[in-house]
Symmetry: C2
Subunit: 388 residues, 2 copies
């Protein structure tokens, strides 16, 4: 396999973009990544688009060709990759493989989702396409309800107080204040979280990642390309790995672990020859607070049932034991679903290139992102490494 590097990254702010269409968001992020890479867009040889719900919400498929055209790159190979909320990570994975294979020297990837110009009931339905339409959705389960089962089981199995898990949201909001791309640049207090409306018992409104619009993009290249366009400092994708779990939550043996994440993470860490303790910045898929805590436990940063301690002790902030979601995570940076996996890598790239401002993690060398699709029916992980 060829080694794969990130040449540049770009994104739109996550938010309610009433004045921008899906394609405009994608083009904005893509051209911004190309500009950041310092290359001409004619050098991009292929395009990967991560998106989950444009078919359902915009009546628009075939995003590869659409976005290639609207970015002024018609002609190049272009594809959409989908794996529910892990669509962004899955698109990065395919772009990574495309470069690693030697088929292309320079490839762009953009994750995009536009969720706010649809009826909330349509968004709920579109999210549910990630779960089993015939067995889960049919009986009336919503996505929050499925995650609530996981949450309830965790609290009960380990005798954990919800306040301790919910603190994850407080951390993310604090981190987002300094992130210009974040949807919610304001702090929330634990009392705010715990007194926010109950969505699906025990999940409170402020424990859920918000609905939003956004796009994030990367330009990837191989070593041949770098020889022609040398850089002093670089970020390598040292590993890109994915795994699935039994599709539906109700058929799994254990709700308190995330098997697909564990599998993918083990594979990536092994390939990159990196121990988890060497991770300097972590991007956790906190669509709901409980998933952030489970991510910490799966990587071994805390024993089972005790991941919440890291949150409560403030170990997730820069300077802590494992700086996590330092740009706000899904909870506060935002979660435009098909874009999230790319935003995670964008945020890590920001840290590894020392552009994180007041949220900068000192000497950040290794970044790790875990992107879940469905109730982690799919996980895609990326391990990034700063190379000097």
């Amino acid at each position: 396999m060829k080694r794969v590097y990130i040449l540049g990254a770009g994104a739109t702010k996550v938010g309610e973009h009433w004045d921008k269409s899906l394609r405009e968001l994608a083009v904005e992020a893509l051209l911004s990544a190309i500009k950041d890479a310092g290359i001409d867009k004619r050098e991009v040889e292929a395009l990967y688009v991560g998106n989950m719900m444009s078919g359902e919400l915009q009546g628009q498929e075939h995003l590869g060709s659409l976005i290639a055209t609207w970015s002024g790159m018609a002609g190049i190979p272009a594809f959409k990759v989908e794996a529910a909320c892990a669509s962004g990570g899955a698109a990065v994975h395919q772009a990574f493989l495309a470069v690693a294979s030697g088929a292309y020297d320079c490839v762009a990837v953009v994750g995009v989702e536009k969720m706010t110009d649809a009826l909330p009931s349509d968004v709920t339905a579109a999210l549910l396409t990630a779960e089993d339409q015939e067995y889960t959705v049919f009986v009336g389960a919503t996505f929050v309800a499925l995650n609530a089962m996981v949450y309830r089981y965790y609290l009960s199995k380990y005798g954990v107080k919800q306040e301790h898990v919910a603190q994850f949201a407080v951390h993310c909001h604090r981190m987002a204040v300094a992130n210009p791309y974040a949807q919610f640049r304001r702090e929330v207090k634990l009392e705010d979280v715990m007194s926010s409306p109950l969505i699906a018992d025990p999940i409170r409104l402020l424990e859920c990642a918000p609905t939003g619009d956004g796009a994030a993009a990367l330009v990837l290249c191989d070593e041949e390309y770098l020889k022609r366009n040398p850089r002093d400092e670089l970020v390598e994708i040292a590993a890109s790995a994915a795994a699935t779990d039994i599709f539906s939550v109700h058929e799994r043996k254990d709700l308190s672990t995330v098997a697909s994440f564990r599998r993918a993470a083990e594979c990536a860490l092994k390939r990159a020859k990196v121990e988890p303790e060497r991770i300097d910045v972590l991007e956790a898929h906190d669509a709901f607070t409980i998933l952030g805590v489970l991510t910490l436990e799966e990587l071994g940063f805390a024993p089972r049932g005790e991941g919440w301690r890291l949150v409560v002790e403030g170990q997730l902030a820069p300077g802590g034991k494992i700086p996590t979601n330092t740009m706000g995570g899904l909870k506060a940076r935002g979660h435009p679903v098909g874009a999230t996996g790319v935003y995670q890598v964008f945020d890590l790239f920001t840290q590894l290139t020392e552009r994180a401002g007041s949220n900068q993690v000192d000497n950040a060398e290794i970044g790790f992102a875990g992107n879940f699709g469905g109730v982690a029916g799919t996980t895609v992980v990326h391990l990034l490494k700063r190379v000097r």
Copy 2:
């Protein structure tokens, strides 16, 4: 890049499968390909799913994880790839790159679509997600209407009689009679085609590929895998290439050529170091008869405006100048859109492994497939080579 081989292939019959769900079709094709490959399904390391409209028609996304689970392969990385009607070809392309990169030794790909248990108006709407929702669909154009513009322009530019182009459908129906996987195993006469209802002037009903359900699957592997599981005879994917064109038909300069196909085909032929005249079997994307004729012209088998002569002269049958759609093509084998690109490779594999029965092309060594998405806003091509 590593060399990539097809170890086995499988498919369901294309048709109206009222008794089978989308996932059942996919699992049937996938397990049949694995059986044909003569391997254990635990050896499959990743899964690629080609599908266009399951979100719109079945309310089901996240097909990678779903189909991995229902095939008894939960755990492996699994993704959906979408590029409108070229979704199948795009999935084969990603599976090819995944093996070529060295990340996986053995990968499965399945293309699947279920179109017949939806309202015809919903299917029409789902097909239109391949074109521009904001500019093309908005003004009321249907997919047939857009292709009718291409057809009309061709007839008028070259002074060609429609009967000569429409003959392509007659050829495909004749080929499908001997194909057990074909949707329409019966001949039609040119009079039948020309007197069938007008759908969008000049396109007649029997010039359109039908709506249908089906799934086709392949197992791909690299040379390391073959060393452990040697074979006497093999089919190599000697090249897999893709290209896009300006997204919307109305913005293109010339309606009588297929730029994305030409670009992708040139790239594939160059990589495989093969001249078009060496192609023994061709799979053309005849969603409408005109597209079959244009495919012949783009590959140089006839001058511009004269591709229809090959059809009329019977040169597309086995033994002719360029045996084309020898298993019935989209017109008669059927066109379950997201599966079509995989069916094309399945049909070529059938020929190159000498399993085509009375449709067998003697000494077929090189097969070529062109899979269009939208009005060829995307094309994915595959060049297959028999290796002894």
